[in-house]
């Protein structure tokens, strides 16, 4: 029985990023296991320290992306873990599930308060795979178990989605700041609302939204695809581009960490290397 923190990666029918996500959890020094949607008792018995809902197309995006998975029995276990302040991260389709389940932003329990609408912005609509830059809100860095190591400087990560535009009810737009976690910006940290800096038209350039307690975060970009430095494109500008160049000349590219590793190393630090009491 491992004494490392256990991070459960939930496989819904149609998930397709579960294995690489569990892998980066393990590479960050934690225990990452994939649980199939109907392994309810196995998941309860494992009593994970944290949960990740991975990317993919759960239930074929029937009704709305994430809508059906949000109603799966497996989610009850995620709900109680979230209520118990355990860290929960939804990536891409996993973020859509968290939003559809009402966990994020979670101002009022059980109410769906946001949506991930179809990408739409002058210059590009529809499915988009692209590397973008984002940075974390200071308030979020202090609160979120996922952002402790991130700081507020811009990092490159890839997006790959057709519905990633965060939208809220009109009356809620003024109170989003406390739940804003990650924001699209350029490599210098400037938050331009135009494409391609904002790749999908998301309000307030939002790339990730968390709940008011900060333990649950729904993010559209894929940190597991930027976990190692060699996963970054050769043209990446700024500090991370310089790191690639230096790492290649130093011959350390095989193992050098990428910006995506910060999310999972931050979680490992949050647990201090051990399981919850």
């Amino acid at each position: 029985m491992s004494t490392l923190p256990l991070v459960a990666v939930i496989q819904f029918p149609g998930s397709n990023c579960e294995y690489e996500t569990a892998r980066v959890v393990r590479e960050a020094g934690m225990n990452g296991l994939v649980f199939r949607w109907n392994q309810l008792s196995e998941l309860r018995d494992a009593d994970p320290d944290a949960f990740v809902l991975p990317g993919g197309f759960s239930f074929q995006d029937r009704v709305r992306a994430g809508a059906v998975a949000a109603k799966e029995m497996m989610m009850d276990i995620v709900f109680s873990a979230a209520a118990g302040k355990r860290p929960v991260l939804g990536i891409c389709n996993g973020a859509q599930v968290l939003v559809e389940s009402g966990l994020v932003p979670g101002w009022e329990a059980g109410r769906v308060e946001a949506a991930l609408a179809a990408n739409h912005i002058a210059g590009r609509s529809g499915y988009l795979s692209r590397w973008v830059f984002l940075h974390a809100r200071e308030t979020a860095v202090l609160k979120s178990p996922w952002l402790g190591k991130l700081g507020t400087s811009p990092i490159p990560v890839p997006i790959a989605h057709a519905e990633g535009r965060f939208v809220f009810w009109e009356e809620d737009l003024s109170r989003t700041l406390p739940v804003e976690a990650l924001v699209y910006c350029d490599e210098n940290g400037v938050e331009r609302p135009e494409y391609p800096t904002n790749p999908n038209g998301s309000v307030h350039n939002l790339a990730a939204v968390m709940n008011t307690d900060g333990n649950v975060m729904a993010m559209m970009p894929h940190p597991e695809r930027a976990f190692r430095l060699w996963q970054l494109p050769p043209w990446i500008p700024g500090e991370w581009g310089d790191r690639i160049r230096m790492s290649i000349s130093a011959g350390t590219l095989a193992d050098a960490p990428g910006p995506g590793a910060l999310f999972f190393q931050g979680l490992a630090d949050h647990f201090g290397g051990g399981r919850h009491e």
Partner: protein
Amino acid sequence: MDLRNELLEVIRSRKLSMKPEEAEKLAGYVGRMPTPLEFHLFDTMWSEHCSYKSSRTFLKRLPVAGPLVVLGPGEDAGIVTFTEHRGQEWDLVVAHESHNHPSQVLPVEGAATGIGGIVRDVYCMGAQVIGSLDLLRFGNPSGPSGERCRAICRGVVEGIWKYGNALGVPNLGGDTRFHPGYDDNCLVNVVALGLVRRDRIVHSFAPREAHEEQYVLILAGKPTDDTGFGGATFASSDLEDESEKGAVQVADPFLKRVLSEANAAVLKYLFETGVSFGFKDLGAGGIACVTSEMAAHGGLGILVDLDSVPVSVDGLPSEVIACAETQERYGLAVPLRVAEDVMDIYNEMYELPRLFPGAGATLIGNFSSDPSYRVMHRGEEVANAPVACITEGIVYSRESRPAPVIPVEPGRRPCDPPGDLLRMLHSLDGASRSPIWSYYDSEVQGNTRFRPGEADACVTVPIPGCSTGLAVSGDGNPWYGELDPFLAGAHAVGEAYRNVVAAGGVPIAITDCLNYGNPEDPEVFWQFRQGVEGIALACGKLGIQVEGQPLPVVSGNVSFYNQSSSGGAIPPSPIVAVFGRVDDFTRAMDISFKEPGNLVLLAGIREDELGGSLYYRQCLDHKGGRVPDFRGDLERAMAKFVLTCTRSGISRSVHDISEGGLLMAAAEMSLASRRDARRGMVLYGPADDPVYLYSETPGYLLEVTPEDWESMDQVPDFVSVAGRVTDEFAVSCGGWRIDLQPLVERHTGLLDRLIWREEGEE
């Protein structure tokens, strides 16, 4: 009426593509008037698509064996040795097919089922699928059929992303070209790659043990409907009109994803239980083909019960249930004693019936040593044929008549580098493909090192913790094809080969898809034979992984009848994918210029052979005649030089010289530079020689430091210094200087504006 007339009547009324003599052969096999099911089964079995009856004789010219080849052409996919990791042998599984006609008629579904079908071919060898490539040929989006061509291009790209992205298979590039010869018949060639442990390879027929123990056939996946009925036949006839939509299947990536997870669990269970089994995907000919072939190739007979086949449409006739090409289905040959456990994995553990109405695993047949293929339906025997005739295909010897093109070269060749580069960068074939790639997920699975466009080949690192990378590229130039079908074949191999080498990969195998018109036309058949000869020549010359051994062709496909009643045959289109091994993936090379002051080496001489070149087409509005010669020994020597530089860490960036020649290559390496560290190149010239600047004679540009250049001992005579990298975003030479910034937006946005926004070329 006599038998022949009866047979002719059936062929006519059932719209079969089989020839009267084939129908007579069939009647001879069964010793009576064949049943409808038998007619449709053999119509598929003996279709060009399945039987290679026109091409087989000549495909023998291709090298298919070699010390690295684990499994050559014959089963669903080819297998070649890839690498060893932690004491395990890992093999590369590759398959290559066309889905041309369906994509022309229903672009979204056609392209999606193209991906769906090719990944099944790789899955059913027991492999995990680690990537796919698509090689697309569209008509002229600005020509007379422009509107339809643009719609087909949009639809095909949509079908590819909706299926591949949802399935979770990274898109590892390919290529896209535009040529008016595809106005009425687009090409959608697809390649799938997988990895399998040597001791976990699965074969697509009932195992020997089935002679000793009762084996059964389990059908797993989607409930059968009437989609794709006659699909293979459809793919083997001229594209008369678009009334054939019923022959196109409907894909379901969601079900496929769950099914693939269940398959993996089933295979794991079977290997751990230690039983022998067979596994095959359902493609052309559906249940009829999979059941008969799994039995026949295992030297067995089988009794199939159609009443136990789950269907989603009531009242289907037996020949439709048996021959429809409903997607997302597999057949498993397993011992009866484990059948229940196997079906539980599909139906209970992975809940297929809950997730998709009617889906699941069912027992539909019993293998037997009685060598006959029998099918029962509603209490009647609807097929009974000796299995021998199922394995024994048919062969035609087609007439072939040479139709060489007489080379015509342009009278004048004005050379205006600034204007010429602009025209080439802003042309259909020279514009960036990023608008297409932006729809594809090239990073799912988390192993991608280089995405499309970053290097000459995509590079993936498929085994976590293992330093071996895989470089893949596909190519085929229709402009060469219409001028010289032989050299088109050789250069299809050569270009994809150079792409893999430029990225740092040692080519280990290729696949091909040979797309041509109607083989019954002697001149078309000659084009096909020329293409095969060209590929054979190139493979014979280019093997370097094992000294003195040819580069093996491990899988492939022939697609004839690519023409419409109005449009005539497509340009000869041999399309090739090359797979290379990168010993240390951290040494894989991209194309972006790195440091000012570095030298740019030119590997390869520049010859006056600009036929079909981008320069002729875009700047002189002329096709020319003399396409680049294929110089196998030089090609191999250049590859060895480049790989030596890259392995030893001397290379800083590498790009092969192809369309647009040396100037275009220099511009592309500059355009790929970091936007906050722009680079350009000063060419040492000659500054105004169109042959030097635009010739597409094969070659490479390599960026190296001056120190490394000094320290190189014995530089091959085909290597020279072409210029140096600068920190200005421009390409310049002697009397001229081309600023690249003003060209970027149109170069990257052209296809988006033209194809997706319908804004027209100007």
